[in-house]
Symmetry: C2
Subunit: 417 residues, 2 copies
């Protein structure tokens, strides 16, 4: 008889709520929210807490060469593949309680619930906390390592600098060489499921409980520098100026107008502008912009990139400026696996929860894992769309709903995959 | 017989050129141009050089309680009033050779030329180097002190801080109390003449040798802060944003458009913008702008101020933001004295030099002196309008022309005033 024929198995809400509360306290500061950046004491503490809770539930634990922390519920069959469930316990500086942490606790709770129900699934389950998703060191370091796609180039110039990387790895009990040992044979993986907060306002605005992620958006980023002439703001007539700030301003507005008009569902943002010399009485001679855009499909991302760079060149001509455009990053979009999406949808349906399909505008470990295994991802609503901020909040009910959806999807996938 | 009936008296070009060259070397660095900020060693050195050159020419010298350095050619009549000629020897950091220094050397050269010609004028002449025009300490400190308009408020919070002010004054051989002793009785002053580089491109573009300054523009400045919501740039749809950066951008363009369209002859500049948090992947939640505008008439300045603040409020409404507008300064326009303008025009005409009337967009010691005595000001062309920069340049011919114009104007005024 199929495991999913009866009333759906659900998690232990009381245990889940108590653990969510306990976990949220580790690294929390009243002044500036969650401080669990990679390599921090609070980060190490919450990871230890996670393993302790797993052991207390009778689960096996493991820390791999990339510092990824896992709780494991093994199938009876030693040849069984492993379905991974997880996210990350690190936070941005001054972050919130839910980003990443919810997905790790969900994974742990799914394993505990399966074990409590005495089910013997035809695949092993592994709740995983990936190292450094937020990028204090590199960004999705743990999932890159597990996917076997960590490059020596990336390790040569980590955001935190080489010294911090090496001493941090040592503190985690591993090393640069150790990172490479974290790679898994994709043949042993059945897939990856990640529960995450939406980090945007879409679900809340639509009044929907569960977002089924169709794919993780790709992104491009640019550093665009306009150069004109820094002149005296009092003595240089309006028609004799080469004001780099005005080109920056016009570009900011045109990028917004273009993406809104021509690229439905995409986003583009000028996150920073720096003017030089930056004084009341000097016309800006230099304007330096940080621009980022995201799209769900590679061709759309390419067209959006081309549109932005052409707008920048046109503004340089309009204001008689030089322009330098530097591409500072490109991430390809990664669609999620259709079977994973179907399992999430079916599970939500059995639980009577409303769903909507949506792309993820943010990057996630699921984006990396999609390169080597079938990946699926579910969102729960973020209050006011706030994230990467102490005010980040998702209700306990939404967190429980999401965890139940992943539990149901896990049981369904255990039969299918 | 009137002094101006003959072929015009002119300066000693060779002496003037040699002194301009020697003076320009003091504080000059190959890396970053002129470094003669107030209280610096180079500033003290050039002021000593100025007094030495005055004494070498048989002129009396004087340093007042505000550190203003003067060379004096006294009239035979002890009751004669004094016509001041000068500017300032301090520079901005990494400045040029001509801003201020030209006017001081011109004053010295006018005195030497009158003395060499053996003329006994009915008024005393004083070439003056005002302290701290550029504002490392306070801005036009020396002229404020001489005009008797230095306030204890201004001295309570100088830009450089109280400690630097007090130790700097001590190094100049004066004190806070000493500053007050520099005030002169306006009854003893016949007027003030200042030669300066234009610091803008107008004369060069028009091919005109001498600018007759109609008045020094007034200015207003504002610090305008828009506050929206800093949200994830990937997960927040374009229609769910409160992007403070976009309001800043729109305001920058509208300020330019409005001043160009509705305020002929005025200027307005957004010199700096600061976005927070200022990252690729976060929508700017705060945008902080520094805006400055200048006009020739008080009512025009008020209308321009009102227009700018209304544009800022309209942008806040358009983008659903909060806005805080802080006025950070207001200087009233100061017209120059019509008799001074006429004397400059007549002198230039006798020398066969082309002239045009123009406002000064930049502030000057003449702006302060206009509060207590008849002030006049002449400009010579600035190559490419560059100023406050090592590339600041005015040709020797233009500098000599300007000095001859002030010499002729001095002789005319000595008869008239």
């Amino acid at each position: 008889m199929p495991l999913t024929a009866h009333a759906p198995l659900t998690i232990d809400e009381e245990r889940f709520a108590a653990d969510l509360s306990a976990m949220s306290a580790i690294g929390w500061t009243n002044e500036s929210g969650m401080q669990r950046t990679t390599f921090s004491d609070a980060h190490a503490e919450v990871r230890t807490w996670f393993l302790d809770r797993a052991r207390a539930a009778g689960l096996r634990t493991r820390v791999d060469g990339a510092g990824n922390h896992s709780a494991i519920l093994e199938a009876a069959d030693p040849r069984a593949r492993t379905l991974l469930l997880g996210s990350h316990l690190d936070s941005v500086p001054s972050g919130g309680r839910f980003d990443g942490a919810l997905g790790v606790l969900c994974g742990l709770e799914v394993l505990r619930s399966v074990r409590d129900a005495g089910l013997d699934l035809p695949m092993s389950l592994e709740a995983i906390d990936f190292t450094d998703e937020e990028g204090a060191v590199l960004g999705t370091l743990g999932s890159w390592a597990l996917a076997g796609e960590l490059t020596s180039d990336a390790l040569a110039s980590p955001r935190c600098g080489r010294d911090v990387l090496l001493s941090g790895l040592e503190r985690m009990g591993t090393s640069e060489e150790g990172l490479l040992t974290a790679a898994r044979d994709p043949a042993g993986l059945a897939g990856f499921l990640e529960l995450h907060i939406e980090q945007g306002p879409v679900l809340e605005r639509a009044g929907v409980a569960i977002g089924i992620v169709t794919g993780i958006c790709g992104s491009v980023s640019f550093d665009i520098v306009f150069r004109g002439a820094a002149r005296h703001a009092g003595t240089t007539p309006m028609d004799a100026r080469r004001d780099a700030g005005l080109a920056a301003a016009a570009l900011m507005l045109e990028v917004r107008e273009t993406v809104t008009r021509d690229f439905a569902g995409c986003v583009a943002t000028v996150g920073d502008v720096h003017l030089e010399p930056g004084a009341y009485n000097v016309i800006p001679g230099v304007a330096d912009l940080k621009i980022e855009a995201r799209a769900q499909h590679d061709d759309e991302l390419d067209r959006l990139s081309a549109a932005i760079t052409e707008l920048a060149r046109a503004q340089a001509r309009r204001w008689d400026l030089d322009v330098h455009i530097e591409s500072t990053g490109r991430w390809s979009p990664e669609p999620t696996d259709p079977r994973m999406r179907a399992a999430i949808a079916a599970s939500a349906s059995r639980l009577g929860l409303t769903v909507m399909e949506m792309p993820s505008g943010a990057g996630h470990d699921a984006q990396v894992m999609a390169k080597v295994t079938a990946s699926g991802m579910a969102f729960v609503p973020s209050h006011h769309g706030i994230s990467h901020h102490p005010d980040e909040y998702s209700s306990l009910e939404d967190c429980i709903n999401g965890s139940n959806v992943l539990l149901g999807a896990t049981l369904a996938l255990a039969e299918e995959l």
